[in-house]
């Protein structure tokens, strides 16, 4: 999940009696699964919550280029290099769709970027973990894109039209990413002893951070309750995490890799796996900026933005000159 702990009103869901007439009409539309479009009336808090959520998601796509980009120049075959390039290109495209969706809510991409670089806005905790061996690229596709899909498939039905349409386009590409990631894991898990070691090492390091992607339990969160009432969040974090574990465990077994959780067991009664929760202290440390790669990721993005200033200004100056020349003709 690329949006974690998105704050909503923090006040709990209003009853129908507490709602204004506009708010009631708005909630009725949502309950009837009618999409909200940019020109429709919407509560200010709905707009703000969506900006936070879509913005965080967009930033995650952008920062998410970095851990994978880390291996593009070292990809082991021409084909793997092409697949990875195409994937990272897709992620940048996802960022673009999402910034466009956010723009329909009245915030510019540049504003959101400044908020990311100043630390006011966050991106998913997962991208603060390093990619250390080639199997990590497989693990990222399999687990990270896999977890993203878990969250994003239901969001295709989200109440805000532009967000929902962006999700539909994105989901198509994400399933490719996951398949390609699993394919790398397969090659590695069936490969030489060193390759197997890389695959297991990747799973060991990415398992718990992937579980953290869904965020801490929010079954009692007022923010989540409001977001769910507005259908900008569809499932609870625990539901999605459970679904992810249930889906992933057999895949790991098929690969012959072991999930780094000695307490992982199939529960006949619930029909789900019981598993160990990730270390939530670590999660909060990462969110606060103390993850293994937070500093590098932000430095990279800041440098790209700062070093690119002359380019953006140059191209804009040229566009103005051109427009002036056309006008003079």
């Amino acid at each position: 999940m690329y949006a974690q702990m998105v704050k909503s009103t923090g006040k709990g869901v209003k009853t129908r009696e507490e709602m204004s007439e506009d708010e009631r009409a708005f909630q009725d539309k949502i309950d009837a699964d009618t999409k909200i479009e940019p020109r429709d009336w919407m509560p200010e808090e709905y707009r703000k919550t969506l900006v936070r959520q879509i913005g965080q998601h967009a930033h995650s796509e952008i920062v998410g280029q970095l851990p994978e980009g880390n291996w593009i120049t070292r990809a082991p075959t021409l084909e793997r290099k092409m697949i990875l390039l195409a994937k990272v290109q897709d992620e940048a495209g996802h960022g673009l769709y999402l910034y466009c969706a956010a723009e329909t809510l009245g915030v510019s991409r540049d504003d959101l970027t400044e908020d990311l670089l100043s630390g006011k806005m966050k991106y998913s905790s997962i991208f603060n973990y390093p990619t250390l061996n080639w199997a990590d690229i497989g693990a990222v596709g399999w687990l990270v894109d896999g977890a993203a899909i878990m969250n994003q498939v239901p969001l295709q039905r989200t109440s805000y039209g532009p967000y929902s349409r962006a999700m539909i386009r994105i989901c198509k590409e994400e399933s490719f990413h996951q398949r390609q990631g699993y394919d790398i894991m397969m090659k590695m898990a069936q490969g030489s002893p060193e390759q197997k070691r890389m695959a297991q090492d990747a799973l060991d390091r990415f398992w718990y951070p992937s579980l953290m992607m869904f965020g801490p339990s929010d079954k009692d969160s007022v923010h989540s309750a409001q977001s769910m009432a507005w259908k900008i969040k569809i499932n609870t974090n625990d539901e999605l995490r459970q679904k992810f574990v249930d889906q992933t465990v057999p895949q790991a077994e098929y690969l012959g890799l072991s999930i780094p959780d000695p307490d992982l067991t199939w529960n006949e009664e619930t029909g789900h796996y019981d598993f160990t929760e990730p270390n939530w202290q670590e999660f909060f440390d990462v969110i606060k900026g103390n993850g293994p790669c937070n500093t590098e990721r932000m430095n990279d993005r800041t440098r790209a933005w700062e070093d690119g200033r002359w380019v953006r200004e140059g191209l804009m100056a040229h566009a103005r000159k051109k427009a002036a020349r056309t006008a003079a003709e």
Binding site: L85, R109, D307, V311, G314, L315, A317, H318
Partner: protein, 256 residues
């Protein structure tokens, strides 16, 4: 293609084409996630992807012509610097975004003319590769030319940076038009044009774009050479290969 064609010359020619796209594609891919604007991240990744795709086609054919049971991957990942046949221009470091786009344009402009001629090659395989590559290149050259113009004719700073990029890179342009025995054999067989014969068209095209970009092409630029003959690459290529070939070298014989 007839059996009388000099295989060594054909192999050299194919390596020159494939190594150019491989090394340039690698350089462009180094930008991933670090561009000045999101649209550029997308466009640069796309350019790198096209170039690596073209590499696959050229080197597949090269490996076939070589006839030693090797693959395009073997050629890309298991040759050392002295066996690479790319021009020096493409192995130069990226520098700033302006230098990267200037290098891209200087290459794209050459490729657009070269690929146009290769679509009339006597060799069917070369013709097919050139046709596919030309379509991709048409988009690359349009974009790199637009960017060079936009930044050249932008602010004072962007203009100065682009002029510095052109001054630095221009001495590496001449190598694209050098002719040797390999080229003579290719021209003789009707497989590829004599590189020198592309120069006039190139100069006219680049001259037009630089004029629009308000940039000055250095006069009587020195010509650095040694890449396409393999006699003397820059120091940069070895480092690039260290990165690119590392996994294949460290864990030989694996499936990836």
């Amino acid at each position: 293609m007839t059996e009388t064609i000099d295989k060594t010359a054909l192999l050299q020619f194919l390596l020159r084409m494939g190594d150019n796209t491989l090394i340039l594609g690698h350089r462009v891919s180094e930008w991933c996630g670090h561009s000045p604007v999101l649209e550029e991240d997308i466009a640069l990744a796309n350019t790198a992807l096209d170039l690596i795709g073209q590499t696959q086609l050229w080197l597949d054919y090269a490996a076939e012509v070589q006839g030693e049971g090797r693959t395009a991957d073997d050629l890309a990942f298991l040759r050392d610097a002295w066996d690479f046949r790319n021009v020096l221009l493409v192995e130069l470091p990226n520098g700033d975004f302006g230098q990267t786009l200037m290098r891209q344009f200087l290459y794209d402009a050459w490729a657009s003319i070269m690929l146009g001629r290769l679509q009339k090659s006597a060799d069917e395989r070369v013709r097919e590769i050139a046709e596919k590559a030309a379509k991709e290149n048409a988009y690359h050259v349009e974009r790199s030319a637009d960017t060079v113009v936009g930044l050249g004719d932008g602010t004072e700073e962007s203009h100065a940076r682009m002029q510095a990029a052109l001054d630095y890179l221009y001495p590496y342009v001449g190598e694209l038009f050098e002719s040797d025995a390999t080229d003579a054999a290719m021209a003789e067989a009707g497989i590829a044009p004599d590189p020198a014969s592309l120069r006039a068209e190139y100069d006219a095209f680049v001259g037009r774009v630089m004029a629009e970009a308000t940039l000055t092409i250095p006069e009587k630029a020195y010509v650095h050479r040694g890449g396409r003959s393999g006699t003397m690459h820059t120091e940069h290529l070895g480092h690039l290969l260290c990165t690119m070939q590392w996994l294949q070298r460290a864990y030989p014989g694996c499936q990836w």
